[in-house]
């Protein structure tokens, strides 16, 4: 495999459960050593897509490769070379951390198993707790242990399904530092998340909603592609103001962020005309600002919903 070939390269993945299309024509390309953030609301098909990538589910249609292996015919090869971290903790709660890692290392036939386990324990700072039962660990430690288990067999691709759900900010930061270290060493990462700060730490993003891939690109590209224009307003009576603004022409969405409102629209002129009427109101301060990722995503989601109606 050449250095810049896509590690994940799938086209038109589609999967239905009981006649409901959960993933609909999703195509993703991720190059080696890149961190791709996989975003989307709950139930949008992220987990199903990831499971298809690592051979846990067979796509109804669509095809492609992971690490150069066909995702349908060569799932076994992919399993040997990829690390998959499930959304729900899926190691054995009645085994200790070391026993869990030892089991995984055996299953992957890791050479020099004992050393590999000790190295993994050390790398993620698990050594002091190595003999604690996994079931007694807090969420943050469970997540570290799961990552350690994924890394034991030196995978070239990591598929992480909401790895930081329910983990405190400090542990999340450490986790992401680790992910960047791994990417720097040439490992490709596809990570699903709900957190915008995490999305911003990815090299590129893929946003999926209702089973359809809506947008891909870097964070900046995603924001600019939304063509949103955003104004920030601060002052008094914001709650009533938000209700009022939502009915106005040119306003696509009004989102409260702490003590300010983000007022966004696609049509810059229409939005400005609307805002002009409120400019004069005493106690309000208007400022032109940049739309955030979250604004962009919510906007994209709204578009799909309109389309489905």
């Amino acid at each position: 495999m050449s250095a810049n070939a896509a590690v994940i390269d799938v086209k038109g993945l589609t999967k239905s459960f009981d006649g409901r299309r959960v993933v609909d024509g999703v195509s993703i390309r991720v190059a080696r050593g890149r961190i791709c953030g996989f975003l989307g609301p709950n139930g949008s098909g992220k987990t199903t897509t990831i499971r298809m990538l690592c051979g846990l589910l067979r796509p109804d249609s669509g095809a492609g490769t992971c690490l150069g292996f066909d995702i349908v015919r060569e799932a076994g090869e992919i399993k040997r070379r990829a690390g998959y971290m499930t959304q729900r903790f899926s190691l054995y709660e009645d085994l200790s951390i070391r026993e869990n890692l030892d089991f995984i290392a055996r299953v992957y036939a890791v050479p020099d198993r004992r050393r590999a386990v000790e190295t993994a324990l050390e790398r993620l700072g698990l050594q002091p707790r190595a003999d604690r039962l996994a079931g007694q660990l807090s969420g943050g430690w469970k997540q570290r242990m799961a990552l350690a288990a994924c890394l034991l067999h030196d995978p070239q691709l990591l598929l992480l399904d909401e790895p930081t759900a329910g983990v405190d900010p400090k542990a999340r930061r450490e986790f992401w530092d680790e992910i960047h270290d791994l990417a720097a060493s040439g490992i490709t990462v596809l990570v699903s998340t709900h957190y915008m700060d995490e999305a911003e730490r990815c090299h590129e993003l893929a946003y999926i909603a209702y089973g359809k891939l809506l947008v891909t690109g870097t964070a900046e590209e995603v924001v600019s592609r939304s063509r949103l224009v955003t104004w920030t307003v601060s002052g008094d009576g914001l709650f009533d103001l938000a209700q009022e603004l939502r009915k106005q022409a040119g306003v696509a969405m009004v989102v409260p962020f702490g003590n300010v409102l983000h007022v966004s629209g696609v049509d810059a002129q229409a939005l400005e005309r609307t805002i002009a009427a409120y400019r004069g109101r005493p106690g309000l301060e208007w400022r032109r600002s940049e739309p955030g990722l979250e604004d962009a995503f919510i906007h994209f989601m709204g578009d799909v919903r309109e389309g489905q109606r």
Partner: protein, 377 residues
């Protein structure tokens, strides 16, 4: 009860019914198990087995001999299954459990009878299960008085007075004192193994699914056959420990004779245990949670106990129940167990009971492997 308490009670009640309705299998089991019990206990079980297969080794084809055999059949308890020519065949037929009785009519039976020499008829019974033979032997005793009544006429009429002009000697083979424990305790090995092995494996796999560890396992390169073997072998060892415990208890507490080879028993045991584990594994691929797996195991266990000949004589059951029983692996293993322990059977005698277990094992393992999916679909 206050109004608030009543409402909370109703809340729980309604929730329980909703959950019960959602878990169809559990509901089906709650209805199915009583029906199964009703059918098995009501129709299949009969503590008074009749028409027991009997082999006749006759060296005398006289009228008297034929009359006696006819009288046996007319009692309803005996059915002449085959005629045999040698004592070796008789021995073999009893050991393999092909017949329950062997009647030996000696040479010159008629001549000695006419001379008033009281010739001896030998009735050998496979008494491993005393319950299976006791009624038939009682009927045999009653029949002595009348069996030849019609033939002893004319000049022989005097023979009708006094004791019968011949003697029937009964040999209760393998269990001469008719001790029930001799039959039950070896049977327990099979029954206990079936229960623990099926339940343990059914739970082992379902637990992976219920706790979510299945997804991780499937994402690794491990193959179905490897998972199955890895999960089964520990329980094979447990099975051997169980057998050893029961055998020691059988010897020390109940003085059950151990006539045959324990090595041979161990070989048969491995096939039997594997068959049970394959059943458990199949259940675990069907059940969605551990409760369902338990219920399936119970649903399987019930006919195993009732139709295998463990509790009730196999030959007492109607034909359809015997066919069902023949399918079950426990039925065959019980025959092997009792054969080796009580009769001292060797490899040749147990072979006819071993291959049905192998067949059962292959069928169950095939279903298990087909059902076990490498994907989450």
């Amino acid at each position: 009860m206050s109004a608030g308490s009543w409402r909370r009670f109703v809340a729980v009640l309604v929730k329980e019914f909703v959950q019960m309705r959602r878990d169809r299998l559990t509901f089906a089991m709650m209805v199915g198990i009583p029906i199964l019990q009703l059918i098995l206990f009501g129709y299949a079980i009969n503590a008074d087995p009749k028409a027991l297969p009997t082999a006749v080794l006759s060296a005398d084809n006289s009228l008297f001999a034929r009359s006696f055999v006819r009288a046996l059949e007319n009692s309803g308890y005996f059915r002449v299954a085959r005629r045999i020519a040698t004592e070796y065949e008789a021995e073999r037929a009893l050991a393999e459990g092909e017949v329950q009785f062997v009647l030996t009519i000696p040479e010159n039976f008629a001549r000695k009878l006419v001379r008033g020499e009281r010739p001896v008829l030998l009735m050998e019974a496979d008494a491993t299960d005393p319950a299976a033979t006791s009624n038939a032997l009682a009927a045999l005793a009653a029949l002595n008085q009348t069996a030849l009544a019609r033939d002893l006429s004319g000049s022989l009429a005097y023979l009708q007075n006094g004791p019968p002009p011949y003697e029937v000697r009964v040999h209760r083979r393998y269990n001469p004192e008719g001790i029930t424990q001799y039959n039950i305790v070896p049977g327990l090995i099979g029954t206990i193994l079936t229960m623990t092995m099926v339940i343990m494996t059914a739970l082992a796999m379902t637990r992976e699914r219920e706790r979510g560890t299945m997804e991780n396992l499937l994402a690794t390169p491990v193959r179905p056959i490897e998972v199955m073997a890895g999960k089964i072998v520990p329980y094979i060892i447990v099975g051997y420990i169980q057998m050893a415990v029961i055998l020691v208890a059988a010897k020390l507490l109940f003085q059950v004779p151990i006539v045959g080879s324990l090595v041979l028993l161990s070989v048969a045991l491995i096939v039997f245990i594997a068959a049970n584990l394959a059943v458990g594994f199949t259940f675990s691929t069907l059940a969605r949670n551990q409760l369902q797996a338990m219920q399936m195991a119970f649903f399987f266990f019930l006919p195993s106990i009732l139709l295998s000949g463990f509790m009730f004589p196999f030959r007492g059951m109607p034909q359809w129940a015997q066919w069902l029983g023949e399918v079950l692996q426990l039925t065959h293993f019980l025959r092997i167990l009792r054969g080796i322990l009580l009769k001292g059977n060797g490899a040749a005698e147990i072979a006819p009971e071993l291959w049905p277990i192998v067949l059962f094992l292959l069928a169950a393992a095939t279903i298990a492997l087909i059902r076990y999916r490498e994907t989450l679909d």
